[in-house]
Symmetry: C2
Subunit: 427 residues, 2 copies
């Protein structure tokens, strides 16, 4: 511990980032594979975009707002271009759609990748983290909203989550109700911004903010606190207002897709981003109802970014949150992958061991052999440390009989197996 702080700094992953060592990386890989497979079943196809984008795109007005400069990693390349690391996967996708007008519609894509935000790192919050997104571009149907939510719920189910809650609202409906409550159209965005802070600053905080902004709190409070049969209460009080039919249609499809059990209408849900135009979602998992992502419909974003006028909807999960909760709740099963270690009884059979090991690999077995010229007992320790299911012991006596000893590491039982039957024995 005598090293100076500069040296220590150089060895650690940069602030707000982390390394994934093999045990953890393998679990992550399982999660990514599971999520990918769920998304693919719904007809979403993979897409990949660069880690950085032009700063101009990331900061585009009406997209993500002005604060973006403080919240991203931005820099100039050696040609003087202003760039920034992507902070989500939606804006790059919108750019791709704007740039490839001839892609067949509806365009359904998923993307799983890292994004970067210059947040203040806290427990469980990283500056580099993984998102998994599904989006459908070119469909106005609420079925496409419901499909995105269903694909995400299925991914979470496949990962083993029993407790899933999707908070649901509709920006159109909320805007209609806020207008009726006396919020002026020009104040709408500010009203949304304050209500969005409910979880962070509580009702009192929101009330204070709204009053500071000269926006009436009482009418808003009545709306966002509606519980129970919310739709009926709205209809009773306001009639068939704008946005209500859309919300109902979404619920109809959600029921068809079997995800209605996860839904909870919550009129206080706004979602921070300005670009949402219809349904908005927030996904909570585990008994602690940890928020792990969300999304919504953004029918204007692609046009705002200069592309064609295309409706779009999508949802995103933060995989760090998901994996973190899975680690905490011991939701990872032991790896089903069987590994084999090929040990040498002495130095004279190392070549044979390497040959047998290679043959096993060619037969589809995950196999390792000693690389450190260790004696047999140390090789057995290493085999146990890497979790080998079997150890193949290669010795001169067995080789004479064209055999090896195969040791089942779980039962401790050993038996002689002919050289050409080893793969069959361990697979």
């Amino acid at each position: 511990m005598k090293g100076n702080s500069k040296v220590i700094n150089m060895f650690q992953a940069p602030k707000g980032t982390k390394d994934w060592l093999p045990d953890e990386a393998e679990r992550w890989q399982t999660v990514v594979d599971t999520v990918r497979k769920a998304f693919e079943k719904y007809g979403f196809r993979p897409m990949e975009t660069p880690a950085f984008e032009s700063f101009e795109l990331l900061a585009a007005k009406g997209g993500t707002g002005d604060a973006v400069r403080d919240e991203i990693y931005n820099f100039k390349d050696k040609g003087g271009r202003e760039l920034g690391l992507r902070f989500d996967l939606t804006v790059p996708m919108a750019r791709v759609l704007a740039n490839n007008a001839n892609l067949p519609k509806p365009f359904k894509r998923y993307q799983i990748g890292k994004v970067w935000r210059y947040d203040n790192p806290q427990a469980g919050r990283f500056r580099e983290f993984w998102q998994a997104d599904v989006d459908t571009v070119g469909s106005s149907s609420p079925l496409s909203d419901a499909e995105c939510v269903a694909a995400l719920c299925e991914a979470l189910e496949q990962l083993g989550f029993k407790e899933i809650k999707v908070r649901l609202n509709n920006r159109k409906l909320l805007q209609t109700l806020f207008l009726k409550a006396g919020v002026k159209e020009s104040q709408m965005l500010e009203a949304f911004r304050s209500v969005d802070k409910m979880d962070k600053i509580g009702a009192d905080g929101v009330k204070r903010e709204l009053e500071d902004k000269k926006i009436g709190w009482k009418g808003i409070e009545e709306i966002i606190k509606l519980k129970g049969d919310v739709l009926e209460k709205i209809e009773d009080k306001y009639g068939a207002v704008d946005g209500l039919a859309e919300l109902k249609e979404f619920l109809k499809y959600a029921k068809i897709l079997g995800i209605d059990k996860y839904l909870e209408i919550d009129l206080s849900l706004v979602r921070g981003l300005e670009y949402y135009t219809g349904p908005v979602f927030e996904v909570m998992i585990g008994d602690a109802k940890l928020s792990c992502g969300g999304g919504g419909r953004y029918d204007k974003l692609i046009k705002i970014l200069g592309g064609p006028d295309l409706p779009a909807t999508g949802i995103s999960i933060g995989l760090n949150r998901v994996v973190g909760l899975m680690e905490e709740k011991n939701m990872f099963k032991a790896s089903p992958i069987k590994k084999v270690f090929v040990a040498s009884v002495n130095d004279f059979v190392r070549g044979d061991a390497a040959k047998i090991c290679q043959k096993l690999r060619k037969d589809g077995v995950i196999a390792e052999t000693d690389l450190a010229e260790r004696k047999l007992s140390r090789q057995m320790e290493y085999a146990a440390a890497i979790g080998a299911a079997y150890v193949i012991v290669v010795g001169p006596k067995e080789l004479e009989k064209k055999c090896v000893k195969v040791r089942d590491m779980k039962s401790g039982k050993e038996k002689d197996v002919p050289l050409d039957k080893i793969a069959k024995e361990v697979l």
Copy 2:
């Protein structure tokens, strides 16, 4: 085409980078999965590191040399830390090993991910590109070198490459021979640097450079031009020089692993990086012998970066080159994934179609349904466009009989299938 250049610029992927649209992204995914599976068979396990590292690490002396500042994306974060996007996967791995002294050795890891270099983008050269690396840390055995090469060759074989060539040299041997040829120890690095440019500037260029550096060309020329049975010729002329036994031992294990057929000893091979200490490799693929990667042993790097004194060896392929060649040679097979499209005969059965579609997904089928309220003929066009293997036609008459029509898109044949037998029919 009337847009101003600023707008066009914002929509394109930044200079030197590219987007992967779904067709291409799916092919990439196959390649990554294949490579991963090959590496895993050899006992390599995944690891992941941040996209950026401290600049100090990336520029560490004795690692990658001084030129790094001109060749990477470096920037300061808002806390004034100097960072840089990783330009390879070796330096981050060396950092992780330096920072996690207790990892069991030998430590065998693979990493597949993007790296970034501020190169001048040319045809086929990107500033953002993918590398796939295997490395073994903590083993001095030439078997560990041979395993890395074998894992990579197996990945290439699995991808369908028949023509694989691995150029092979040994830095220790080369240094011994250069010393015997009169190169001074203090000039060694410069001699290596010039010889490394053989492919770019030709023998005449190398000769001129060496003469400018006051390093004798003739002795070097004799060595690097040795062809045929190189080992025998060296032994005849110089005896059992340093590095020769190591090279022979490598060849012994290469033979055991069945990769000797790919090897070609080439004394002109140096590999640019300063940190190699023993065997060096360069991998060429296709009939045009396109260089797609390489590697070697780097026994001092981890210590140079301040970690423990650990021998290490590894090899890396550039996936952009590999995929590019596969595209060019039509090596990608049609996707084996069967997709199903569920079509509605009219608007009244859309809900039923969505329900049937969802049931198919739950049964493991990749299924889509109409999201754009199109009439049947347009739905059929879309199904053909997405390459659906089957279309499930949902109509009121069939529904009454608890049936759907299943159309095989290849043969054009249709048949009625009961609702609870659709998945079985299409899987």
